[in-house]
Amino acid sequence: MGRYLFRLPDVGEGVTEAEIVAWHVKAGDRVREDDNLADVMTDKATVEMTSPVDGTVIAVNGEVGAMAPVGSVLVELEVEGEGNAGEVAEKRVPEAEPAAEPPAPKPKPEVRRDEPIPDTSGSPPFAAPATRRRAYELGIPLQFVPGTGPGGRILPADLDAFIAAGGVARAPGGTGRRTGVTDKPIIGLRRKIAERMQEAKRRIPHISYVEEVDVTELEALRAAVNEGRREGQPKLTLLPFLIRALVRVLPEFPQVNALYDDEADVLHMHEGLHVGIATQTPGGLMVPVLRHAEALDAWGVAREITRLAQAARDGSATREELSGSTITITSLGPLGGIATTPVINRPEVAIIGPNRIVERPVVAGQFISVRKLMNISSSFDHRIVDGYDAALFIQALKRCLEHPALIFMGEGA
């Protein structure tokens, strides 16, 4: 029998540590080769750690939510034969360094805390007749009034407190004070989102700009194209047109399709358009990347968006598919609202958020006609993009979207 130490492998370029997001084994478990030991999350992707050997788990190192340095021992296994523990002795010394880091605060499992209320479920609220009568007069259902008296009895003072807390107005609808507090550790994707959002807002002076776009013609075109689509072709949403419009417009605004390395004070202006598509997944926000949009037609863009969104949602998106964007689009679809103030996906310098399409009366000369209007919200890194340029860029985008033929014409139109 020997010991085998499973170390966190180098899971990606530039990755020095990964967060343990789930354990699939515990001490004492038998594992076979290729069994999933743990899930770790790197910059954006979640990676399954599979066992390279058959054996029995002796120990797992690190709580869920902890950051594990690359090369640190994740799992200790007992295996037939020699194992690799011999090699360990020599490596002990360098390992001491990551171990010296302060351990990540131990996230507690999700727990519900409730202020102590005696369990009187199944029995009606109890209060003296005068209290009940007053509550009824005021239209307050007593089951929503927490009782602090002996055994949970609702005292006149409890009713006063409930009323003072605004209980009266909401009473007929049956809502009272809710006293539960649920503690949820912010780990995994949620922590990643939190960190990135915080970093973006902390470092980037955002400037937001909202413009109204008449998409009547674009919508007519879209309807016609969808009408005539062949089998196997995806239904086109507005997004492929917006991306194609970006392809058309961005060469004139190279500082918008760029990555700003603010530590090196260098702006990397990309010729290729790699569009981050903000996608809601069960775990939270993810941004899969549509690469080289300039090389795809609208159908290709639509197909790729569908594939990426699916991959992000079911967790199969690779690290490559989740990084490398040069500009991001965030669309809430039917929830799009009137305007948003999107947060830039650092180190990019711009983010575009189309809002909901609505039909509105529009004055055109002497007539009022019904037009389909959509707002475009956008945010720019004001260190790089001046307000004037931001406006010019959005106006150019608007021109393309309002006259969709322009999207498909060559440069110079």
């Binding site: 009187t120 109890f126 009940r132 008296g149 055994g151």
Partner: protein
């Protein structure tokens, strides 16, 4: 030309529901007319609760004297001759009690400026009522109507009332005692009256269709009463049905289809009461019914706007104090207040020998703590010769909260504790509350305290 009254409120029925509603409405400045065909006070006061309690009290005294006149005496008291009873005089005394109370009600109504119309009300529609009075018809067109018409004894087709077949009403107005009495129905009315007559020396037989007496109470509560019946030679025929009058008594059929005759000079039929819904035009008012009863909501509102109903006509439990409480609720609603009838518990009492009181939940399960204390452990009970009837006080509380959800008791004189029982349940008292209340010594009330301690697991005296 007949008189027309247009009050804000018309109350139909002057029993404990109707007269209380009328007085409360009057207090609140609601112009009110009350119609009653008989005497004020209704069934309860004139032919129910009060006269039966008077008779029971007289019968109890008579029995104690009879025991004193026996060879052994009673508590060392010896009477040389057995007591004699002049039932007519007893009834006259009882009538005096009724007179005083009924007169009191009339005075209270007057003071509340309620107009009382004597006569039988008949509705042409929900808001049009005509009362035939000795002075001619009075037409009443009120804004609101409170129906408090009460209930009447249920008649058995095989034993129509009349002659020797009595309802409780006639039994409470006898001027001579029968030698033997067959009581059909061993509910609380049949038992109260049957026991009273047995104490007065009448040979009593009880016939009950269910398998035990007072079937709505649990067996533990009714056992002391069954024991008393057994000890005093009261015949008890359970699982038996009255078939009708026989030559010299009552023909009954038992479960095993045995038929025989119980010798009886008189028969008292107490198989229940039914709502008084006929003969006054209820059918013209467009009111939704709930079986035989008038359907009401928690505000005592019927399906017809501004027509309200309270008391026995609205269903079980048919108890005077329920009707009165509903009467107050309705009067206050009519006066513009926001009210509903939402008691936690409606106490019920059987003035049997011994007495039974039940308030709130009576059947405990695993979520409840129960404390039971016998009369035999209470000094006051023993000193009143009430300790040996098998009586007890039982307190039921929720284990989780300690909240008292029910109190039952059986034993002599226990009816007077019904108020404490109801107060504890209605106020939402916990066992610890009761443990912290000093109960005066020596009283029967100490058993309530003790039963709470017992449920808490640290009784002192048991």
């Amino acid at each position: 030309m007949s008189k027309v009254l247009r009050p804000k409120l018309l109350v139909v029925g002057g029993g404990p529901g109707g007269y209380v509603a009328a007085i409360r409405a009057g207090q609140l400045g609601v112009e009110t007319v009350l119609v009653e065909v008989g005497r004020l006070g209704g069934t309860c006061l004139t032919r129910g609760c009060i006269p039966s309690k008077a008779l029971i009290h007289a019968a109890g005294l008579y029995e104690e004297m009879a025991r004193a006149s026996s060879e052994a005496g009673h508590l060392g008291i010896r009477l040389d001759a057995p007591p004699r009873i002049d039932v007519a005089a007893t009834m006259a005394w009882k009538d005096g009690v009724i007179e005083r109370l009924s007169g009191g009600v009339a005075g209270l109504l007057r003071r509340a400026r309620v107009t009382v119309v004597q006569g039988w009300a008949r509705f042409a529609d929900a808001k049009t009522c005509t009362v035939e009075t000795p002075e001619g018809p009075v037409k009443i067109e009120p804004e609101h109507v409170v129906l408090a018409t009460g209930s009447v004894p249920v008649e058995l087709p095989s034993l129509p009332f009349g002659g020797h077949v009595l309802s409780s009403t006639e039994a409470l107005a006898l001027t001579a005692l029968p030698k033997s009495l067959a009581v059909v129905g061993a509910g609380y009315i049949g038992l109260e009256l049957g026991i009273a007559f047995a104490k007065l020396g009448v040979r009593v037989a009880l016939v009950e269709a269910a398998e035990r007496i007072l079937p709505q109470y649990d067996a533990a509560l009714t056992r002391p009463v069954a024991d008393w019946l057994h000890a005093h030679d009261v015949e008890l025929h359970l699982n038996a049905r009255a078939q009708g009058k026989a030559a010299r008594g009552l023909a009954i059929e038992t479960e095993r289809t045995d038929r025989f005759t119980i010798p009886a000079e008189a028969m008292l039929v107490t198989v229940g009461r039914m709502p008084n819904t006929e003969g006054w035009g209820l059918e013209t008012m467009g009111i939704e019914m709930d079986g035989r009863f008038i359907r009401v909501d928690e505000r005592c509102a019927t399906s017809t706007r501004n027509v309200w109903a309270i008391g026995d006509v609205t269903g079980e439990p048919m108890l005077a104090h329920r009707a009165s409480a509903q009467g107050v609720v309705v009067a206050e609603i009519i006066a513009g207040q926001r009210r509903r009838f939402d008691p936690v518990a409606i106490p019920a009492i059987c003035f049997t020998e011994p007495e039974i009181v039940s308030v709130g939940l009576a059947r405990a399960d695993e979520r409840h703590a129960v404390g039971q204390v016998p009369f035999a452990a209470n000094g006051r009970a023993l000193s009143m010769d009430a300790g040996d009837t098998g009586g007890f006080v039982r307190t039921i509380a929720e284990k989780a909260s300690g909240r008292i959800v029910g109190i039952q008791a059986v034993g002599r004189h226990i009816s007077e504790l019904a108020g404490e029982f109801a107060a504890l349940v209605e106020m939402g008292a916990t066992l610890e509350d009761v443990a912290g209340i000093i109960h005066a010594h020596p009283t029967l009330g100490e058993m309530v305290h003790e039963s709470a301690l017992k449920a808490l697991g640290h009784a002192i005296h048991v």
